[in-house]
Each structure stands twice: as structure tokens, then as C-alpha cells.
Amino acid sequence: MRKILISTALALSLGLACTSPANATVKVGFMLPYSGTYAKLGEAIENGFKLYIAEQGGKLAGQDIEYFKVDDESDPSKATENANRLIQRDKVDILVGTVHSGVALALAKAAKASNTTLIIPNAGADAITGPLCSKEIFRTSFTNWQPGYAMGEVAAKKGYKTAVTITWNYAAGKEATDGFKEGFEKGGGKVTKSLNLPFPKVEFQPLLTEIAAAKPDAVFTFFAGGGAVKFVKDYADAGLRQTIPLLGSGFLTDGTLDAQGAAAQGLLTTLHYADGLDNPKDKAFRASYIKTYPSIAPDVYAVQGYDAAQLLATGLDAVHGDAGKKAEMRAAMAGATIDSPRGTFKLSKAGNPIQDIYLREVHGTVNQVIGVAAKALADPARGCKL
């Protein structure tokens, strides 16, 4: 009798185990900065992601979504360990992360090594969808090259002949200014000087003096966060705004306009998102975001998180919610058309969005769209063998 009971119990549990894949939850691992300078960006990405899931009734392809979170602290030296917590301990099906490019590089390697699907909702390092590109890795944001190149074209079309670039001496800054140089020189301009200073130093005065001495037709810059605030103010204080136009990659004026105040008015920047886009999807997204998170304004990071969730939804729909069918899911994701608030986009072979880069002008505290700087711009994905 006892034996029968046990075997029935075993059979029952086995039976349950067999049926479970269909009802199992999909495990999503967020590896995002929840502390430090980028904490707000991480929060916005998660908000955007969860907003999309909530709009679908809390499920994707009939599956519940279970979240696991790790604070990556924007620290590349802890990145591999943090990624493995999600991959090995929590056994997540999908990784979502991160903001900092250095951390994202390590995360991409960990995802590749463990055959885990990774969606990058911000980090713009060219290499991730360049030499390091891989079928496991997707990005819903941008490469640093994209806004830079688009601004280079804009500057050349404006008839500027010479330009000086200035940025921090690190990968993101170099990639953005290289992109600018490529676009600008293709259009007949010439970058006469590339200035840089060590990250994250903010003593710009000597370099501003160099700019004044070089007297170029325009200056292109990549700075973000506190450095962007100080640079824009110093540039105006040095009286250069009156004489030499300042152009920037969009992060120069994203989330920093309150602090930059009058010094930023009228600045031209390029990015894959802007305020005042005339498309219904963006209006719906913004209304929904403000309703769900009344205290936070929707921004480019929230859009990237939202699109990461859309990309995942496409993949899961194709395999009817079975995240175990990795190859099929990835094939569907690679071919996805994402109806993003920024405008619809598809992914390049390397997994980076082929998207419109907007030209924006600062009005008050918004980055108002004033045109498209580059239509359906694809990163050249140099070094990618996919």
C-alpha cells in the first residue's frame, strides 16, 4: 500500500514536471545600475520594460514574467561576477543590461559563453555589435558612432569647413567623435584638431582656450552627465557660444537641461529619440508612462527599456512562450520590426537598430525635434562576421 502511494506520488510529480514547460514562467534578469551616477538611467530602463509587459496584461506569449535583479554598480571589474549570478544562480532565460559600456562588454562575453540571450537597453560601445557581435546579443539603443556620424553630415551640409572635436579620452567619446569625423569629412569638411581630457576630469578651461586659438567653424562634443553640464556652461561662459557653434551627441543635453539652464538654449544635438516627435506611438507611450510613473518624465532610456521588452515579446511569440527554443526565438528577434516610440526600426545583421537619427534643438527644458539628421542609419558594424 505504502509503496503504491509513493509511486503514485512520484508519478504525479513527474507528470507535473513534464507539463511544466508550458506553464513555466520566463525568467528575465535585469543587470542594471541601481546605485551611483547611473541609478536613474537603470530605473528608467526597468520602468520602460515593465510598462510594456503591463500593457500586455502582465504576460508575454501567455507566460508570466519573473524578474531577477542585480545592481551592476557601473563597475566593470564586478561585471563578470554579477552576470554569472543571474546566469548560473538564477538561471535566467533572458538577460537585460546595461548602461555602462565597460560593464556591457563583460556582460556580452558572459552571455556568449553561456549561450544566454542578451538585450542591451543602452550601452553604446561600437564593439558590442562590431567585433564582438554574436547571435545571442541584441541591442535596442544605438552605437556611439550613429549620432556622431549623423551630426557630421549635418555639419557638412551647413557648410562648415573646419571643426574641432572635444571629449573624454575613453571609448564612448572616441567612437562618437570618430563617427563625427567620418560623416563630416565625407561631406567635404575637415576636423583640424581632436582635443581630449582624461575621464572624468572636468577642467575644460585650457582646452576651451585651445578652441579659441584654433577658431574652427564648429565644435563637436561628446560629454554626458555632470561633465556635460559643466562643459556647456563653461563653453558659454568663455564667450564661445557667440562665435563658434557647438554641436553635440544627444547625451550632451539629455537629463541635464535643468542644470544647464540658459547656457544650453539653442544647442543642436543628434540622437535616436527627441521631444515632440509627431507619431501616435510616442504620444501613447508618453501618456501611458506618465500615468504609471507620475513622478518621472519619460526619456530615451525608458524608450530603450520599452523596446527591449517589445523585442523579447516578438521572440517569445514565435516560440509560443517556450524560452528553451533559443535558436528559433533569436531568429524571430533578429527579424523583428519594432514599433518603437522613436519610430519603427529593424535590427541590422549585427543586432543594432537601423534607425532615424533626429536633429534636435534645445528649447527651455526639452530637446525639440527639428528634423531627421540621417534616415534609417545603420552602424557599419566593422569587424562583425555575422
Binding site: G36, T37, A39, K40, N169, L195, N196, L197, P198, P200, K201, V202, E203, Q205, P206, L207, L208, T209, E210, A212, A213, K215, G225, G226, V229, K230, K233, D234, D237, A238, G239, L240, T243, I244, T256, D258, A259, Q260, G261
Partner: protein
Amino acid sequence: MDPVIFLIQCLNAVQYGLLLFLIASGLTLIFGIMGIINLAHGSFYMVGAYMAFALQPAVEHYLGGGFVATVAVCILLTTLLGYLLEWVFFSYLYTRDHLQQVLMTYGLILVFEELRSILVGNDVHGIAPPPWLSGSISLSDVMTYPVYRLFISAVCILVATALYLVLTRTRLGMKIRAGASNREMISSLGVNIKRLYRIVFAIGVALAALAGAIAAPVTSVYPGMGNAILIVSFVIVVIGGIGSIRGAFLAAMLVGFVATFGQVFFPQVAGMLVYLLMALILLFKPEGLFHQG
């Protein structure tokens, strides 16, 4: 290099050097004279800057506003903060070894960062310079120089002179110097060394906060701003010779020039030039330029 541009770069270097001196002077007092390795010095700088930002509305409401009033309130509060901190924490550290000092002051960095995050948040904020200082002087046909930067330099020179006079010409300064060279001896002569140190520490904290508050309109306030200046402050104190105000002044100027012209002429290695300078000076003068005692 065009001579006009060269002169402007020299001005940049002097201005940067003066600001560095103001930041490092408090550390010279605390580290140099009291012998405490104070990693929290950058946090005091940050506290000053954030106070200048956060207290502005309150000061405007109760005292009628004004940048000078805000800075004055900021100095008052941070002096008090320094006095209390010394009393509650630092006074137990004089006899302990350096590792424990490092641990505690590092802990303070974390506490102050977290407090900042809770009280003010993680945003970057700009502070407008007072209207009477917001003009600028034109230096060449394309460049102007903000008056506020010159004002910072003036404040730095004022503080440097005052510090020098207090330390060398007053009774308090004499006691401080005596305390620095022999703690036991001066307390056996009937000077209350504990209170003396409390005052020195409070002054050191207030100096760092003053630097933060004065620099805030130029640097803007942002998370982690204190850590950025901590290392260069230590470099200046070490180059200048521990405990020497004169040395710190000279070292700050040297660092200002090396950093400025390094950025212009050797941008690829600009980040390490200052440390090379320190290594070179320590090679020939292991105790720094002006070692006291």
C-alpha cells in the same frame, strides 16, 4: 603658441592652482598638522557644494537671500559639523594606527554619499553665480573670461593669506604648530590640546566646504564630486610637504601649471603628468618641498 593664448593659458593655470590650494588647504591642516589620514575630505567639499545648492531657498526665505549669505551659513554649519565630528569620531583616532583612520574616514565617505542621495537626490544641479559677478571680460577676439572665476581666485588668495598669518603671527597659530610637533609637551604646558585640535579640525572642514560652495557655480553639483578632488588634494599635500601651508600653496600652483599645459601639449598622457611630477619631487625631496618639524 600665440603669446596672447599663452598668457590666457597661464591665467587658467594660476586660477586652477588657486582653487586647488583652497581645496587642499583644509586637508593640510587635518592631515599635516593633526596627522589624521582623512579620506572624507572630499565629502566635506561635496557637503559644501550641496549646501550652497540646497540651502539657497531657505536662506532666501529667512535672510533675504544673497550668495554671500548662503556661503556664510554654509561655513557656519560645516564648522559646527566639523566640531561635532571631531568630538564624536576623530578624537578617538589620534592614538590608533593609520589603517583604522582610513577605515573610518572611508566609512564616512559612504555615509555622506548615501545621505546626499537621500536628502538631495542623484541629479546634477547647476547654481547660478550671483548677478553682480556674472559678467565677463573679453580676452581676445573670440574668447571672454568670466568674472566669477577671477572672484574665486581672489577668495583663494584671501584665504591663503589669512591662513598664513593665523599660523605664523597669532597665538592660536603658535599653539597649533607646537601641537603638531609635540602633542604631549604642549599639553603638559597647560594648553587644552583636545579643544585645540577640535578647532583645527573644524577649520579644516569649513575650508573644504568653503571651497565646494565657492566652486559650485563653476563646477555644478553632482554625485561623487568629492571623490574627484580627493586624490589631487593628497598629491598637493604630499608634494608641498606635510603640514606646510606655504608648501601646499606652491604645490597647488605647480600642479595647476602642469595640469593645464599638460592638457594642451601632451593630451594623451595628461592624466598621469601630475603623478609623474609627484614622483619626481619625492625622488629628490622625499619629505616634500617644505617639510615642517
